[in-house]
């Protein structure tokens, strides 16, 4: 028997992982694995029935998360995990649907879907792993790349203004907005746990190192160097005004939980409104009678 097959050598999270697909494809020093660890920890602590938790991801490095989690998982087209998750959740409101994808996927090509799902306060948890580039395809500039960073399609440095994701999420109507780096492992876990137990559109941005592309092109070192940068430059400011959360190139990263409010979800609004207008003729959907 191989050492790793012995019962005492089984990693405690193996029941949530597709062990037949390990080791995963992420690079040495990549932070996505850390976010997945934090997610599984949060899932275990939240007390949710894992059979009812679905993970939807798009295309990209973080998009591969669905392939490694042993839950009902969906690997969809680029930019479309959010509307896919919308359909999944609305068709069976008892499911807990988590969108777990990258910055390019969710707010780049998927930007339109993101703002509309937030506007409608869809009951989804969106975990956006932000590594400031389109890593899977070779490190192209993304909507979140800081000004001045060198990327493969911005070889002389990026000159476009990037998104401030918590501001975008809050402005679109998200009811839970938090940002952490992957170094804040326990806080990421707590945020995901809070989001899983909350109803409404929750958005958690987790900034992670991209060693092979973003860091290499910008001569920022390896995973350890980037984590040190997060350690020295991140500041926790819970409840900060999301307008002030821009990240400059190798600049200060403000992290924390910025928004945590209660608002009726899409289905709540739909059922309440139509019941009011149609009275007894209305057939409610997703409401336990």
């Amino acid at each position: 028997m191989k050492p790793e097959d012995r019962l005492e050598e089984k990693h405690p999270m193996e029941e949530f992982l597709r062990m037949d697909r390990m080791p995963h494809i992420w690079c040495s020093g990549c932070g996505i694995g850390i976010v997945v660890t934090s997610f599984i920890e949060a899932l275990q602590k939240s007390g949710l029935d894992p059979d009812k938790v679905c993970v939807v991801s798009g295309i990209g490095c973080t998009g591969r998360v669905a392939g490694y989690l042993r839950l009902d998982s969906f690997h969809t087209t680029h930019g479309r995990p959010v509307p896919f998750a919308t359909g999944l959740k609305l068709a069976n409101p008892e499911l807990k649907v988590v969108v777990f994808s990258g910055d390019g996927d969710i707010v780049g090509i998927g930007g339109n879907h993101f703002i509309h799902a937030a506007r409608r306060n869809m009951d989804l948890v969106v975990i956006c792993v932000n590594n400031f580039n389109y890593a899977m395809t070779g490190g192209q500039v993304a909507a979140t790349s800081p000004i001045g960073a060198n990327l493969s399609t911005a070889p002389y440095g990026n000159f476009e203004y990037p998104f401030n994701l918590p501001y975008l999420a809050e402005a679109s109507g998200a009811t839970y907005v938090a940002r952490w780096t992957c170094l804040h492992i326990r806080r990421v876990t707590k945020s995901i746990q809070e989001a899983l137990q909350k109803r409404g559109f929750s958005f958690i941005e987790v900034i992670t190192p991209c060693v092979t592309l973003y860091a290499r092109r910008n001569r920022l070192g390896d995973g350890l160097n980037l984590l040190r940068y997060y350690y020295e430059n991140s500041e926790i400011r819970h409840g900060a005004d999301t307008r002030t959360l821009d990240i400059g190139y190798q600049g200060k990263i403000i992290v924390g939980k910025f928004v945590d409010i209660e608002k009726p979800t899409f289905l709540d609004c739909m059922n309440n409104h139509l019941r009011k207008v149609l009275g007894n003729k209305y057939q409610p959907w997703g409401v336990k009678s």
């Binding site: 790793e4 005492e8 050598e9 990693h11 999270m13 992982l17 990549c30 492992i185 390896d222 350890l224």
Partner: protein, 92 residues
Amino acid sequence: MIYFGELKAKKGLIHINKDRCKGCGFCVEYCPRDVLEMSEEFNIKGYHPPRVINPDKCCYCQLCEAICPEFAIFVTLKEEEEREREKEISRP
């Protein structure tokens, strides 16, 4: 270590899956007790996995387990009897 009268500090036992490790060094860097260091051996993929150098110092904080991106390291709690047994063996 016993303090506040009755409380005993927890001790952890570290399990490393050497072949899954990708040598990123996060566990070594962020262990608060310097329990680990990178070894010189190569695993099946050519990476240097970590090894335990101060097993007694491990206090079961599980930070290495939480920060490892590869699910290659985890910590289990050393039970009371095991610790007594260890003390017995180390007694001259």
